[in-house]
Symmetry: C2
Subunit: 442 residues, 2 copies
């Protein structure tokens, strides 16, 4: 029955990991989830496939081109391209059953049929938190978002980071005051690029947009306001911008900074950055970006902001919200390729039991005992020489081996080998768990 | 800017839960994952979208009709319909980088565009474990699979269950001996239905297939072999079936039962069931089904078996394996609708901090302290009356409230209220964690 074999492969732009990297990825995923839950965010799991009419209510332009869209039976279907639209649909659909403010997290895959290129994925995890208010939403949540992210990155522990904060009202008010409201979209998009393309290119582009030179100077001066957070707030307050939005924005920003400190966020881990606008249309207040200080080239690894009306395409209710998102697949792939993190172990177990040609019953009893004490344990069943078995344990990065020979069986004992130190000790079976716990310092 | 609103809704056949049920679902998911990892199964996360050529190498008939298949650019793509084909593709693709026996779990969504009906889903979680050997795979894994599942269902704790075990070699050998090898497919499919359609209907169908009466009796007698596992094994050994496959199958089954006991699986939780064939073509040895004893109507909640050659469509390597799978979405939905389980809490936190019109700094400091001690904590920021706040805590099912009034702030104290007993106690801030731990019995 000779058959043509099909070459096993996946579509470019999809991240698929070997177990070693998958274990590391999962540990990051679990950490983020744990921190999200520790702040009371509720889990959500929406379908990957939605009705196109519902999912694309708002979409258009670039987004729509990237959608995986198809028909099945009579249905026009699409794969979700983010987790915000499904959240809007969910909240509108289930609002009667939800308690507001509604805090939810969702950490799931989304799909964008982009041209594959380095660092861009067609399938990737987003790790979102959002809080949705009914009619109104307390400003303290604008500080809770970065406080959560601060705790996430502290726990993930890949070096110094800074959460950059701005307020769209400040930007909008400032440009209104310059009579540049009609150009605000173009100017904000332009300013957003200053770190990528440089100050001169920004000035040139502002000129092309039609901004007068004196205003360009004011704009550059404004976005370059320097100093500590408090100094920046002081400079903003001292500016001669007589615009209510601007003043509101500055006051909001000041309150958010104050709350952030009360949340215990270290001074070094946040800063006001007046250049941050976030491309998307719907942000209306506080906005965030997060940068790893030692790897600014990675760009923002976590962004978000406040929006006035989450569900406008589905209901007339006014549901303002604030959210922030970690693009985990992209972040992980960058951290790996920059050697900022690396996989330590190819195993999820703490102990590998190695029977030396002895009765399997005794071996399995020990494995069961270890698992019952919450110690993940595997057994190496294959009949190989002990040296080969030890090599295998080492290769996998399992921290402990339990060796069972004839003596151990006869004396009701087990030999615990610490693979890091190389030391081994033979103990009575009843003492195995306590010996293990001693060695791991519990 | 009046707009037509779009009705927020999802496609039928997709399970979407409210937070309360989602929390329960996740706790089941986490339990299964924890047990899988405790046995050393490695995590895998393959793409939801695969190339149709690769994914459908084997498929045909009913399966192919159910596929969500579509084009994007030049690519003919499909959504995965199970986790076994992606595993085969993965192992064939990455075999040089894997250590065999390769133990992996994957707990992910799969897609089938079925007609929606009760208990059938178009998007559902499968929780699979498989072990893949290189050229050969020790029989002990045939016992490890049900041992893992035993531990899963023990931990999930919804009552008595039994893992039914059979061996396809016994069935194949038995029918070979009756000269019914050419009808084996039809007969097995028929036997598999005996609990659904009854003995008489099976006999009738066997007649229609063309099985002679005397053989029909032998078949019915065979599948009705009764007694304990050891008695059934004895009956099988006493049968006058002179067929090598049959004898091999009985010996394998006997070994697997022996190992199962050594794995610590309770006698009450497994049994030999000679009727079990599993519909799929590729099972070649041990096969499993799992039934909740008090809810047999739910059917098999966890099934699987051994197969000879996982990757035959992709490589010439011989990679035998064994696997078992929990259909979590279907199981969860059945358990909920039969009231076997029910959601207990609408919250993921253990403590809700309730500030009574006091300085937010003190409140946030307490919340941070609780979280730093691994106690998930939320804060009720809204300015409502204390009675309303308490009602809210109660409604969510949060077990503890920490009340912060002016006295607490002035005396560096906090009031811990046990929502179950209603008792409350005011303690110094330094004693809050130990008081909490005392109350939860730690």
């Amino acid at each position: 029955m000779a058959k043509n074999k099909i070459k096993p492969r996946i579509l470019p732009g999809f991240m698929e990991l070997l177990p070693k990297e998958q274990i590391l990825f999962n540990s990051m995923y679990d950490t983020i989830r744990e921190v999200y839950e520790s702040f009371g965010f509720l889990p959500l799991d929406t379908p990957v496939i939605e009705l196109s009419e519902v999912l694309l209510a708002k979409a258009g332009g670039e987004t729509e081109k990237q959608i995986y869209r198809f028909s099945k039976g009579d249905n026009d279907l699409s794969l979700r391209f983010d987790l915000t639209v499904p959240l809007a649909r969910y909240v509108a659909q289930h609002s009667a059953d939800l308690t507001f403010p509604f805090k939810r997290y969702q950490m799931s895959k989304v799909y964008r049929g982009e041209r594959p290129q380095k660092g861009r994925f067609r399938e990737f995890y987003q790790c979102d938190i959002d809080v949705i208010g009914n009619e109104e939403l307390d400003l303290i949540y604008d500080a809770e978002m970065p406080a959560v992210i601060y705790n996430v990155f502290k726990r993930l522990d890949f070096g110094r980071f800074v959460i950059k904060i701005n307020n769209r009202r400040i930007l909008n008010g400032f440009f209104e005051n310059l009579n540049l409201s009609d150009k605000i979209g173009d100017i904000l998009r332009n300013i957003d690029k200053i770190e990528k393309i440089g100050k001169d290119a920004v000035i040139q582009e502002l000129k092309e947009i039609g901004v007068e030179d004196n205003k360009t100077n004011e704009i550059i001066e404004f976005i370059n306001i320097d100093g500590s957070s408090d100094e920046k707030l002081k400079s903003l307050k001292n500016m001669s911008v007589s615009n209510e939005k601007f003043t509101d924005g500055v006051n909001e920003l000041e309150s958010v900074i104050g709350y952030l400190r009360q949340f215990g966020v270290e001074e070094d881990c946040f800063e006001i950055d007046l250049k941050i606008a976030r491309g998307l249309d719907y942000y209306t207040g506080t906005v965030y970006e997060t940068v790893l200080r030692d790897y600014p080239g990675l760009g923002s690894v976590c962004s978000g902001g406040r929006y006035d009306n989450l569900t406008e395409y589905y209901t007339n209710r006014k549901l303002p919200g604030i959210g922030i998102s970690i693009g985990l697949t992209r972040l992980f792939s960058q951290l790996i390729s920059e050697n900022i993190i690396s996989a330590q172990s190819s195993s999820v177990v703490k102990v590998l039991v190695l029977p030396m040609d002895v009765d399997m019953g005794y071996t399995l009893k020990i494995a069961d005992m270890l698992r019952k004490n919450n110690i993940p344990t595997d057994v190496y069943y294959s009949k190989k020489a002990m040296k080969q078995k030890m090599k295998y344990v080492d290769k996998l990065g399992v921290p402990f081996a339990v060796v069972i020979g004839e003596d151990e069986v006869n004396n009701n004992e087990a030999t615990l080998k610490n693979m890091t130190s190389g030391a081994q000790i033979t103990v009575k079976l009843d003492d195995l768990i306590s010996e293990y716990k001693k060695q791991i310092g519990e």
